[in-house]
Every structure is written in structure tokens, then in C-alpha cells.
Symmetry: C2
Subunit: 374 residues, 2 copies
């Protein structure tokens, strides 16, 4: 017995201007209306293969091991660490926000000896600071967040940092969860050993898939581990067998999720990466100008301010959470609170992928202006 009146799913239509997920193009939703095929159906195998090419285009890499893991961005972070780390390995993590701290926690849970270098929330690291830390021990892995979603800071000088990391014979893991498809990421040019991302930020697909790419050097280390990867689910050799020519069963990937990711990646290819980066930057500048006019100037200095995620300073005497709740309940606009020490001081405003549009910015600034004047 089906109901004539199917109440069903009927969510509010939100403007997603927080740290992710971003809004998805209607074409992505239309892709989701297609019935799933089997996870090893010849049709889906073609999609996996084309996704690999599109992800290589995004990461700017020729790495053979380039997949989308069946999990969120955090599964990508954990996969990078779990596949490289063997018990008691020395790992150095640079922390300038929440996600750097998460990287360190994940590495530590996996049995690594973790050292942390930290800088204040909103700052970025100098090449010299990182070199001074690398000098102290024989680290196997150095990991860093490219775009710290908790503060809105872009770590600069990745190529120079990479040169230092490799001079000290460490592997370089770069978190590109928020940066990929929003600002330039150059995996091969920067000599990154593992980079991972998430489907729901600048790529603008629903969450649930984690793009990841592995250099031949890191692949070789993973293939020659002395202990098995503690996680079967996130074992990259399992993925290589599943996505490779032999298509060995590893888990049951979701056709629906891949319909969505494939479509989102094609939309990116149509726009062109450079045009997409330009759009993100031009729109960010509009946002920054408008925020400054409202007395909510960006918190991060312009030199390393992320176009995809802006921390806007909350004016004195304003309760940031009240405003945030009103934006959601009155205007259907989602923005986020600050993290940690910044919780009462900033809002986090994302302009990622499909969400980065002039009309969204005009709406947000108008709504925020009204609410601040109350």
C-alpha cells in the first residue's frame, strides 16, 4: 500500500554559504534521479575510469593511484595516514587550526610517534619554521593543511615546503579538502606524496566521496609495507584492485554517489579550472568588500586569505550565534560559527563551487546588513 499523499522528504531550500557542504548544481541532482546500477556494472566501471582522469585533471597529477574513496573527507585524511604509517613511525604535523589537530590525532591513534608544530589560529607557517622542525628527527611523514577551513588561512609556499620535506627524506601529505577545485592545487609540480579532498566543498557534489591521489613513491612504500594497513576499509591497495583492470571486489561503492561526482567533475571541466579559480577569487573580493562595509572585515590578512572560506569579524556588541540563527531561519542562509578561540569572534562564510555566485553574495550581504541594523 503506497500513500497517495507522500509527505516524504521536503527540505528547506538553503543557500549553503558555510564551510561545506556547498550547494550542488541542479544537473547533479538530475544525475541522482537515475537508478543505481551494480557497483561493478560495465557502465559504472566506465564512470570510475573517467572520474580517475577528471580527478587527475583536478589534482594536476599523472598518479596512477587516483581514486574517490567511499567515505567523507575525514576518511581521506585517515586513509592517507593509515596507509603510510607503520607502528612507531615518526610523524610531524603542522597545526594552525582544527584540521591540523585532527590529522595529529588520527596519526597518533594509528600508533605513530607524533610531533606537532603549531602556530596561532589564523597564521600560516614559514618555510624556515618547518625546516627547523624537520631538522630535529628523522621523520617518515610530514603533513600539512593547504586550506585550513577552521580559520580561512591558505598555507603559502607549498612548493618550497615540499623541497625542504623531501630534502629531509620525508613523505609529504597535503590536505586539500577545502582547496581542491577552488584554488590551484599542483600535486605533481609540488611533489606531493598523498593529497586528499572531499566531494562536498569546492567540487560541489554531495558529501560521501573522498578524492585521493598517491605518488609513485608513496605507492611503492605502501606496496612494500611490513605490516598490513590497520584499516581494511581504507586500504589503498584494496582500492587499486577495485578501480584497476581486474576490478577485484573490495566494498560496494554507491552508483548514485558516483553519478553525482562524475557530473560535478564534468561541470568543472566545462568551466575550466583557471576560470573556476578566477570566479572564486572575483566573488571572494566582492564578499570581502561588502563585509568590510558592514563592519565585519575579514580576519585573515589578504596575503594568505582563502577565497573559498572567509572568516568575517563579528562587530562588538553583536551575538554571532543570534545572527547566524536568524540568517538560517529568516533567509535560509547557512553560515558557520568560528572554531575554538575564534568561536565568538568570527563567522565562517564559504563561497565554494556552485555556491560561489554574485547573487548569493548580494543576498548574504543584504540579509546580514538588515540583521546587524536591528
Amino acid at each position: 500500500m503506497t500513500n497517495i499523499q507522500d509527505q516524504g522528504i521536503n527540505p528547506p531550500q538553503r543557500f549553503l554559504l558555510g564551510p561545506g557542504p556547498s550547494n550542488v548544481d541542479p544537473r547533479v541532482l538530475r544525475a541522482l534521479t537515475n537508478p543505481p546500477v551494480g557497483h561493478l556494472d560495465p557502465y559504472l566501471l566506465k564512470i570510475y575510469a573517467e572520474e580517475q582522469d577528471l580527478l587527475r585533471m583536478l589534482f594536476k597529477t599523472e598518479n596512477e593511484w587516483t581514486f574517490a574513496l567511499s567515505g567523507t573527507g575525514t576518511s581521506g585524511m585517515e586513509a592517507a595516514m593509515a596507509n603510510l604509517i607503520e607502528p612507531d613511525d615518526q610523524v610531524l604535523i603542522a597545526i594552525n587550526g582544527y584540521f591540523g589537530a585532527r590529522l595529529a590525532e588520527i596519526a597518533s591513534r594509528l600508533g605513530a610517534q607524533v610531533d606537532r608544530i603549531e602556530c596561532p589560529l589564523g597564521d600560516i607557517f614559514t618555510v624556515e619554521t618547518i625546516e627547523a622542525a624537520l631538522e630535529k628527527k628523522n621523520y617518515k611523514i610530514f603533513a600539512l593543511i593547504h586550506a585550513e577551513t577552521s580559520t580561512g588561512a591558505e598555507q603559502l609556499n607549498i612548493k618550497q615546503i615540499s623541497e625542504v620535506v623531501h630534502r629531509y627524506n620525508a613523505l609529504f601529505v597535503l590536505d586539500t579538502v577545502t582547496s581542491l577545485a577552488g584554488i590551484p592545487v599542483e600535486v605533481d609540480e609540488w611533489v606531493i606524496d598523498i593529497a586528499y579532498s572531499a566531494s562536498q566543498k569546492s567540487i560541489s557534489a554531495p558529501s560521501g566521496l573522498a578524492p585521493i591521489t598517491v605518488s609513485p613513491r608513496a605507492q611503492n612504500i605502501i606496496e612494500n609495507r611490513t605490516s598490513p594497513v590497520s584499516s581494511f576499509y581504507l586500504d589503498l591497495k584494496g582500492y587499486a584492485g577495485y578501480w584497476g583492470q581486474s576490478h577485484l571486489y573490495h566494498h560496494t561503492a554507491s552508483a548514485s554517489q558516483h553519478y553525482a561526482l562524475f557530473t560535478a567533475l564534468n561541470i568543472i571541466a566545462e568551466e575550466g579550472l583557471q576560470a573556476r579559480f578566477n570566479r572564486h577569487m572575483e566573488n571572494a573580493q566582492l564578499l570581502w568588500e561588502g563585509l568590510t562595509n558592514l563592519g565585519c572585515a575579514p580576519f585573515i590578512p589578504i596575503q594568505y586569505r582563502l577565497p573559498v572560506l572567509t572568516t568575517a569579524q563579528v562587530p562588538k556588541s553583536i551575538n554571532p550565534h543570534t545572527i547566524r540563527n536568524e540568517l538560517l531561519s529568516e533567509f535560509n542562509i547557512e553560515i558557520a560559527a568560528g572554531f575554538g578561540d575564534l568561536k565568538e569572534k568570527v563567522w565562517r562564510i564559504g563561497l565554494m563551487g556552485y555556491s560561489s555566485s554574485k547573487e548569493n553574495i548580494a543576498l548574504l550581504l543584504a540579509a546580514l546588513g538588515q540583521l546587524l541594523e536591528r
Copy 2:
């Protein structure tokens, strides 16, 4: 620039009669057309809460810790093991097919001392065999597959096995990936400590979410571990914080996936669990009769034959893979090959959730009949 002609996603319309995924109800696809909201949007929090109630109905449990993990069924398996196992714990796994072996591999990778009891493919365990194995050591965990998807055998006497397991003070982990929502699962009545499943089998949602439920006893053990869970991504305490009243950030769940799961769970509630079990059994009997008439009698004895997954014997002189490929290419019907030693001997035919219908069975039998006569 968008294309006027959007080639996009246009998959073949398959009849999914393999071991999963199953077909989804069109209402599930319609749910997916809704734009994702943020992962902690008040609307989605209501969906999480209602899903918890619906999953408790499915698992027949009052367990507080009842969630849908953001990963496939394998992530549920790994979460069960990773949250209970501490290094060098003694674990006993019963293996009568591929998925029991996977459980043992996962437990072993997590640092447990794993003992295996095995029986031939297609057999099930007696309570006595399991008791004899439990006697030998002080096991912390005993794990078992309820419905072995690789053979089509249903492990009987779960309640009696559970009594023995708890008499020996072990925790009882039950894999219900293929059974949940297809045949009775009674988590509280059977005194199961952790049961987990997958969204794409008898539940008939797209894959990518893993329902899981944890007894208060297992919850207490997890909350009082001496070492942290090696996987941050699958840490059930993280899930409890994320799904609980405080809604602490843990990862970015997919609104789209939850729209689909929520809809599939509501469809199950409308049908009623007992009616659903009856439908699965009645349709399975139709299939078995038809297969027998075609000379492809079921491999598993009727006493413990799964209605949701049938292994059908391949007639002599027939190449099972040719027939399987023809079913797919000529009739858009997906069935699967056998596993391991059964690879050349059986086909695996799933009748799960939305795929379990009289018309699908009539079509499959007609198509198979035509191909066998060639």
C-alpha cells in the same frame, strides 16, 4: 556555459538480482532530487533522529547507540571490530564463507589474536561446535555472519548461540548485512552486542550507509577502553556525539544519502516488517520452484536456505559466466557468480527489498530458460 544537450548520466535500466545493491523504489530516487542541506541543519537532525527510531524498529532493539555510519557495509564490519578490539584481545570468528573470512582479516589487522572455526562453504555451524571452540580460551569477542552472501546460507539458532557466547563471557557481534529487513533480526531478544548492516541490500537504498546498533554492555566497554579506537573515522563515540543531543562535529554526513535511507526505512515501516519477511519468503519459493524446473536447483538445503540470496546450481556443460553476461547484455538482468570454490558451480541470485517481486522472478526465469536452451 552550460550545454544545451546535456549528455550526462544515462545508465542502463538494470534488474538488480545479484547480492546487492538491490533496486530502489522510485520514491527513493525522488527523495534524492532534493538539494542537500547542511549536515547539521535542523531539518537533517530531525531525519537522523527519526532514522534512529526506524533502525531500532528494524534491528528490534532499544539500544541508544543506533546509527547509520557514513560508509558501506564493510565500514560497519570494521567499526564493530575496531571499537571493541584492543591490542592482543582474543577474538573467535566463525567462517563459512567469504564474509566470515573478511571479519577475521579485519580483526587481525586491528591487532587482535584471532582464532577461526570453519565449516565448508554452504554449511552452517551447530551450537555445539561453537561451544567447543569457546571453551578453549577466554575470548573477548565472538563474531558470526547471520546471512552469508557468498553461499546463501542462513545461520540458524542465533539465540542459542548467543546464550553460549555470553555464558563464556564473550561479546557477540552479528553481521546482518544481508539479513536486516529481509529476514527476522532480533537484536535485543537474541542479546546481540553489536549488529551492523548495509543500506543497499534488503533495505533497498543506495549503498554508502551502514546501520549499526550497540548494546549497553558493548557501549560501556567502548566508553571505558584503555586505548583509543585506532580509527577516528569509525569511532562510535564520535558518532554518539554527532547523532546525540550535542551534535558535536565528527564528519560531514551526506544529506542526500540520508534522504534516501530515510525514505527507504519509511517504505519498510509502511509495508510492515512481518509482511516484508513474508513477501521475501513467498517470492523466494517461487524462484526456487522455477529454478528447479530449469535444472538449476538451489544449492543450500531448504532448512537454512536464505530467501534473500539463492545460490542456484549451474547445469553441467553450461558456462555460468557466459549465461551471466548474456543476462546482463540481453535482458539487463544482473546476477552474480559464485565465490571461491563455488565460482563455476553456482550463480548467486538476490531477491532483496524492492527487487523481490513476482514480475522480476517471472522475467529472470523466462530469460534464463531461453539462454539455457540455446
